[in-house]
């Protein structure tokens, strides 16, 4: 009797993971859609406006035909908030891998997991450490699953830099502006930027990338960081890179900043890019098995 219950639970995590994966690749979050509409209304470059119109048309078509909003359905990354008292945590990894395989076949997703040595594509979006799972232990007994499907174009321009501590936040601002300019058209602008400092080379990038999950509406609760986000937002939108790098005033839709304390000798900084197709979805599974979809309505 006990064994059967365990299996049901595992199956449910798999179903929920499949559902959020499907939601993520087809339906962009409401805050991203709103930001794109606003950008379209405000863009002054003719070519830039054509690009934003194509983006908005595409989002509508994806929803209508239930097709992935972009053909690059990304590398699949899960962020798990596991209640310390949640049961069957040892089954979750397997459930997420199964959900990934199922979604690849049924949604469908593009197979994007390649063995770096043999160059062979596994064909099902799984392989060593892929899908990648970030674990966080939180109080309680529920389980929160978030998926980010991260496009390759925007990933290719993510950068970590070890800045000069004496230059402080000014050094960071220059680093971000230079990084966005160097990235140019490559990450499919308008982008969302995740910027993080401190911790270490790995920690700053982990924080920067995780901050891409934050919604675009609502400023940071820390006023000093909110001010920095605003400043970076205005600065990079002055570059003129514009939608798809074809020129215009919309280069980024939003900027998120996060930080950890740093070593006195180090000033690690990371800039993570998301393309306009900023795909993410979350759900919470309570201990009694009820599922609440947090970013999308279940369709």
């Amino acid at each position: 009797m006990k064994e059967i219950k365990t299996l049901e639970k595992a199956k449910s995590v798999e179903n929920v993971a499949f559902n959020i994966l499907k939601q993520a690749v087809i339906y962009l979050p409401e805050d991203v859609k709103q930001a794109l509409k606003k950008a379209y209304a405000e863009e002054t470059s003719e070519t830039g406006k054509t690009q934003l119109k194509a983006i908005l048309d595409n989002i509508e078509l994806a929803e209508k035909y239930q097709a992935p909003v972009c053909q690059d359905t990304g590398t699949i990354i899960f962020y798990i908030k596991a209640g310390a008292k949640a049961k069957n945590l040892d089954r979750i990894e397997e459930a997420l891998i199964n959900a990934t395989r199922k979604a690849t076949k049924e949604v469908p997703l593009r197979p994007n997991a390649v063995d770096p040595f043999s160059q062979k594509n596994s064909g099902d979006n799984t392989g060593r450490l892929i899908p990648y799972i970030n674990w966080e232990i939180v109080p309680g007994d529920s389980l929160e699953l978030t998926v980010m499907t991260k496009g390759g174009g925007s990933e290719n321009v993510c950068v970590t830099g070890m800045l000069v501590p004496g230059e402080g936040i000014n050094g960071l601002k220059k680093f971000v502006v230079d990084t966005v300019i160097k990235a140019g058209a490559k990450p499919c602008p308008p982008n969302i930027l995740g910027v993080a400092i401190g911790g270490g080379a790995d920690i700053s990038m982990k924080l920067a990338k995780k901050s891409l999950l934050k919604p675009l509406n609502g400023p940071n609760s820390n006023p000093e960081i909110a001010k920095l986000e605003r400043e970076i937002f205005e600065a990079v939108n002055m570059t003129g890179i514009g939608p798809m790098g074809l020129g215009g005033k919309t280069t980024v839709l939003g900027v998120h900043v996060d930080y950890a304390f740093r070593h006195p000798a180090s000033f690690p900084a990371a800039v993570a890019f998301n393309c306009w197709a900023a795909r993410r979805a979350s759900a919470r599974i309570s201990a009694d098995g009820t599922v609440e979809y947090l970013t999308h309505k279940m369709k």
Partner: protein, 201 residues
């Protein structure tokens, strides 16, 4: 800004009418090729082996699509462009040897490709990155898939399309490159941004 609607095979004369910032829609045969397909096509050319089809006058598309098989028929589910700069190392030879008239992608291409397009008569049409369903809906028929051993994204897909676009003509056959122009503007703007942020260059 002029809107052009061209049918493949496209002649050199037709393509030379287009200027940077024009908008282009392509009807006819569009062939996908990413890094691996470019590499293999050029190897075939070197060895004197024919390609699966003659590319003269056609459009080559930097795209790794999501495809679905229904019965024995392939359907394009999502087919937006991939970053073209990766193909920069191949494209001048590709344009020269195969006489493709339109290269479709995103992110732009460099000087070598721009020079080859001026010399042999081709344009680069930027398709909105990520607009994968918009692209897929313009693909009316999947004629065949070649080199499937390269995997779904890298294989050569041969599409029949209707009014595929909008493509922003970003490199024309007269040596103009919109991306290079934007980069120049951005470099100028950089100094203003540094000033605004109180940074030394």
């Amino acid at each position: 800004m002029t809107v052009y609607k061209l049918k493949t095979p496209i002649s050199e004369e037709e393509i030379r009418k287009l200027k940077v910032n024009d908008v282009l829609y392509v009807t006819g045969t569009i062939v996908t090729a990413r890094d691996q397909a470019h590499k293999r096509a050029l190897e075939y050319f070197k060895q004197g082996k024919p390609l699966p089809l003659n590319l003269e006058g056609l459009a080559v598309f930097h795209c790794g699509p999501v495809m679905r098989k229904e019965g024995d028929k392939w359907i394009a589910v999502a087919a937006g462009p991939t970053t073209s700069t990766r193909m920069d190392i191949f494209e001048d030879e590709f344009v020269k040897n195969f006489k493709v008239r339109v290269v479709i992608g995103k992110g732009g291409m460099g000087k070598k490709t721009t020079d080859a397009m001026a010399k042999y008569g081709a344009v680069y049409g930027a398709f909105t990155g990520g607009a994968a369903v918009l692209a897929a809906k313009a693909i009316k028929n999947v004629r065949s898939v070649e080199w499937f051993d390269l995997g779904m994204p890298e294989a050569m897909w041969i599409f029949e399309a209707e009014e595929f676009g909008p493509l922003a003509v970003a490199i024309d056959s007269h040596g103009n490159n919109l991306f290079t122009d934007v980069q120049k503007t951005v470099e100028e703007n950089k100094q203003r941004i540094y000033q605004k942020l109180g940074l030394s260059p």
